[in-house]
Symmetry: C2
Subunit: 435 residues, 2 copies
């Protein structure tokens, strides 16, 4: 019964009322993120695959119907409707991994009003969370730079087991190298990575024996060298690296998790290089995010890889995205909400992106404007237009796009109210004024 | 295969190495939250029930073993060990819903080292998240006051479907009245509540007909009155309330979701009272949290209920808790970590709470100190000491405790580095110095 019941109760009570009153005309809803989003000059759209899979599978089990019946809110006809429920609507959306901006429609649903209403909570929950983490991860990928890797270490601080899997997915989509989360690896086919913990080192009489043991038992060992004294740890790691080399193997790297990471990384790099071990990578971790990675690099820190946990997994500086799903059209024509500060754009929308750069225009779907339309049909009458995308392929595209972004969009500088390159078409503006 | 694989890869590679080397001695790990936690003068411990259920059920399916075998990291003996895995350790913990503080041990695991290691990520993920949301919810309950209710509206902004269910649970445990999340209602037995959306109002030719329709179709209607003009909406709601009264029914309330909530709530209260409708409750929502509810009340706002979404569900001002799980003892005796800024207390711990108030002392489990011991045995040799607690009963206890807290702990005033009433026993202090 799990995901189909992820609805806010009012969606069911409203649906009940619509059906009773034969108000089940075709309605169109648009998903967009309210501008501005603090500290984000762009977003990475993510979560579409999960939404479409959900829409295809959505149904109410007998357990679910029994629970709903027991609430005393719904008549028999409504429960029978739910028993036969399946989503039959059309969906247009931006491609997963696309760079997008607050204020522009990213997904549009057109369906009988009740169906369009009952998918709201799942759709918002999924797109808001995946886009949130994808957008945070993209900033970390940019801060780490084209030649370094970032990996997801967030599982222990994410908001539940399912969140941990979804964080790993969105981060990978946005250019991360992999995750420490084995469940995400198993379910999503994401590469899994890992080093060792301080408790492992402490389980041996001394650091050197712990390093030797780990290197023997792991095909690509990365040694954590800061349990006692980081430079002594680096010397022990160098010794083990040479022992491995004499047996035709290689030490993959060392990890630093505490102290002044920039200074320590330089000292460790010098020690490893002076021992003739330039191939041993340095991997840093410890409450990292894009700001701290940028400062680390600015201070001359040297690392081939970054392990990023808490601040990625909960998108620390912006822990939720204000995405909304609003009625834009029904059988009475274009609709708009006029509550103070919560105005919406009316009519079924389209977004055109200029061919020569990241400038978008939001207009009406039946307009023809210059540029590439971002919203394309992804589901017709409840059936997906194509299967799930290959995550690794999306990831390669996103990385290429990120490192080609113009400087002002790549900048991490916090802006309280960032401006986005999103315009409104003349016809849409006239429609807003008319309503 | 889902939750047992929620491990960080390094737990498996370390476990593999421990087993190979016969390093599977009995080890004790303690869970605690590193102090300080910004903006929190106390925490509400939560998530124990989920952890114990997980430990009882934990096993590796054939799918999981096949995936792990394919990673090329583990030998046959380790995969066979995992095939027969079950958790056989002992667990001591604080009771769910207890008021606790950063720096003190909240859960202790004693088990063969490999078992204790393999439960780390799930345990941290669950306790960190549940305690995070429970602690945030408790502050909102205090801000709303003893005579008002708070309900969870966060599903659309939580970090996935599972997170939404877990948020509803932790908030209910900490004193919330219910949730809009139907899945949480079905799975956790939490009361579900809901009103109506602006799109419902907009689906009718005018507001009054939408109110009449909703009141007819819902046994306890709450009308959203701010779609067009809030005071006109309140007048329409009053008209519908009187129509209901003439038929022996009652309007449960009206909801305000925009504008200057304090001023608007006063005006709406006056209107309803002057129409002879003092029984119609006012329900407010719209990006609320404990700070905004406090300001709303301070400004003379009048409400019987608060709908709290995003800022509860992601614990907006502190979106993750820095809970850690550290080795404190093994067959070689008490252990402590000495990395800069990450020192841990050695030995198997106990916490004593003074009988006359909220002052705690952390000591060693074999000490006898005055006060009530907070850690009690909850699992022996992998079997729970008792079943799942009744959430509603825990909730009543938590509410009573919260409203009896001393003033300095109830205060919402943000403190950058709050101080906690947690002391260290003499014997534990001596042990730290010796190590």
């Amino acid at each position: 019964m799990r995901e189909s019941l992820l609805v806010d109760l009012y969606e069911l009570t409203m649906a009940h009322s619509y059906l009773k009153r034969d108000l089940n005309d075709r309605a169109t809803f648009a998903y967009f993120v309210r501008p501005p989003v603090t500290n984000r000059s762009f977003l990475v759209f993510a979560g579409l695959d999960q939404v479409l899979s959900h829409l295809e599978r959505m149904s109410f089990s007998s357990d679910a119907l029994q629970y709903l019946g027991g609430l005393g809110l719904f008549d028999r006809a409504f429960l029978q409707y739910l028993e036969g429920f399946r989503f039959t609507g059309d969906v247009w959306a931006v491609e997963e991994g696309e760079i997008v901006f607050p204020g522009e429609p990213l997904l549009v649903v057109s369906a009988p009003r009740v169906e369009a209403q009952l998918v709201e909570t799942f759709l918002l929950n999924t797109l808001n969370f995946q886009t949130l983490v994808g957008s945070k991860a993209a900033r970390i990928v940019l801060a780490a730079g084209r030649d370094s890797t970032a990996v997801d270490f967030s599982a222990r601080r994410d908001h539940g087991a399912d969140a941990a899997v979804q964080v790993a997915r969105a981060a990978y989509l946005a250019g991360f190298q992999g995750t420490s989360n084995v469940l995400a690896g198993a379910l999503m086919g994401i590469p899994v990575v890992g080093t060792m913990a301080h408790s492992y080192v402490m389980s041996f009489p001394d650091e050197l024996s712990s390093f030797r043991a780990f290197a023997e038992d792991h095909p690509r060992p990365v040694l954590l060298i800061d349990t006692y004294d980081t430079l002594a740890g680096a010397a022990n790691a160098a010794r083990v690296a040479k022992e491995l080399r004499s047996r035709g193997r290689e030490l993959a790297g060392v990890r630093l998790d505490s102290g002044d990471l920039a200074a320590v990384s330089q000292a460790v790099r010098n020690l490893l290089d002076s021992e003739g071990l330039p191939e041993v990578d340095i991997f840093v971790s410890g409450d990292l995010d894009e700001y701290r990675i940028e400062r680390f690099r600015f201070a001359g820190g040297v690392a081939q890889g970054y392990g990023v946990g808490t601040r990625l997994g909960v998108s620390w500086d912006v822990p939720a995205l204000g995405g909304v799903y609003k009625l834009v059209q029904d059988s009475a024509g274009p609709r708009m909400k006029r509550s103070p500060g919560k105005v919406t754009l009316p009519g079924r929308p389209q977004v055109w992106r200029a061919e020569d750069g990241l400038r978008d225009t939001v207009g009406l779907a039946d307009e023809v404007l210059p540029g590439r339309p971002l919203l394309s049909p992804v589901m017709e009458r409840g059936v997906r237009a194509w299967g799930s995308p290959e995550l690794g392929e999306l990831r390669r595209q996103v990385r290429a796009t990120l490192f080609a972004l113009p400087e002002h969009l790549r900048s991490l500088a916090p802006e309280e109210r960032p401006s986005y390159p999103v315009a409104i078409s003349d016809r849409l503006r006239q429609l807003v004024q008319r309503l």
